[in-house]
């Protein structure tokens, strides 16, 4: 077998080679110190991918469109809290500039379902888009008063 190419190494590390190809590649690396070193580097880079994926998945506030369910859960929790507060009038507080701030959880009370609640939160600026990241951010509501 000729010396290993980067493509060979990447495919081996990702487990994409057929068994015969994989065996031939490993046999070559066992006998060729240069290729063994390159294979080891390729393996380290591949292992690093697992760390990157784990770190990415663990970034709580940094989400993607795929983390919308988390935002939905947050809203669902808010809605549950709201149910618990259902006998109370909508809570408002004063922000620094005197604008009314509406308590999010109470506002979710009026939504018939989670989807409507989300849509309403987005419209009111309570659910913000930070880049591609949907984020539930009550602070945005301070003084927003867009239509509330």
């Amino acid at each position: 077998m000729t010396h290993l190419t980067d493509d060979h190494i990447a495919a081996w590390a990702a487990g994409e080679l057929a068994p015969a190809e994989r065996d031939a590649l490993e046999a070559h690396a066992d006998a060729c110190a240069d290729c063994a070193a390159r294979l080891s580097a390729g393996a380290r880079a591949e292992e690093a991918m697992y760390e990157v994926a784990a770190a990415s998945a663990a970034r709580a506030p940094s989400g993607t469109g795929w983390r919308w369910p988390l935002a939905g859960l947050a809203l669902a929790a808010a809605a549950l809290i709201a149910v618990g507060l259902s006998q109370r009038p909508a809570e408002t507080t004063e922000s620094h500039d005197g604008a009314a701030r509406v308590d999010v959880s109470v506002e979710c009370m009026s939504a018939p379902d989670l989807h409507t609640c989300e849509a309403d939160a987005l419209r009111r600026g309570l659910m913000t888009e930070s880049g591609r990241i949907p984020r539930y951010d009550r602070a945005v509501c301070v003084g927003c008063g867009r239509d509330s």
Partner: protein, 175 residues
């Protein structure tokens, strides 16, 4: 799926063990090669690790089975023992603690490189990032499983993963 396979393996199901070995053996080998083992050593150590795990299960000494992590740790222990007995110097590259000391001994990336690579990952599309996280997270699903889950062809799945990997590895500085 993997969870139920692991549960069956814990009950002594040979077919389940075979499936787990098939699913995770290469990852174990790659993990050892990453730490400086030659491929032939890595294959031997991986095989011995699996045998020990099966043995432990049969003796009732295996309460839980988290793979591939458990097999990697077992195989690495076996390899280090071999190195020690043979008086071989263990290459430091794969064993060094990360520079910030924040992680376990298994970590490959220091904080700076991890941050750089995460930023590169953030530049990927939502779908490609999710595909990458699914491929490299948790139970290590097959490409066929991923293709099903994401509604892609197998070839397209592999192509996307290959391209994302290439960009992330470039961000790592490892080629």
């Amino acid at each position: 799926m993997a969870g139920s396979t692991e549960a069956r393996a814990l009950r002594g199901d040979d077919a389940a063990w075979n499936a787990l070995v098939q699913a995770h053996d290469h990852r174990v080998v790659v993990a050892l090669v990453a730490r400086g083992a030659r491929p032939c050593e890595a294959r031997e150590c991986a095989q011995e690790a699996w045998m020990r795990l099966v043995q432990q299960q049969r003796e009732g000494r295996l309460a839980e089975l988290q793979l591939p992590g458990l097999a990697i740790r077992q195989a690495r222990f076996i390899w280090l023992e071999r190195c020690r007995r043979a008086g071989t110097v263990v290459p430091l590259d794969g064993l060094r603690e990360p520079a910030d000391g924040a992680g376990s001994e298994d970590r490959m990336l220091d904080r700076a490189r991890l941050g750089r690579t995460l930023r590169a990952l953030d530049r990927e599309s939502d779908r490609d990032r999710a595909l990458f996280e699914a491929a490299y997270g948790g139970e290590g699903p097959s490409h066929a499983d991923l293709a099903d889950r994401f509604g892609l062809s197998l070839q397209r799945t592999r192509q996307i993963l290959s391209e994302v990997r290439q960009r992330l590895k470039a961000a790592l500085g490892d080629g």
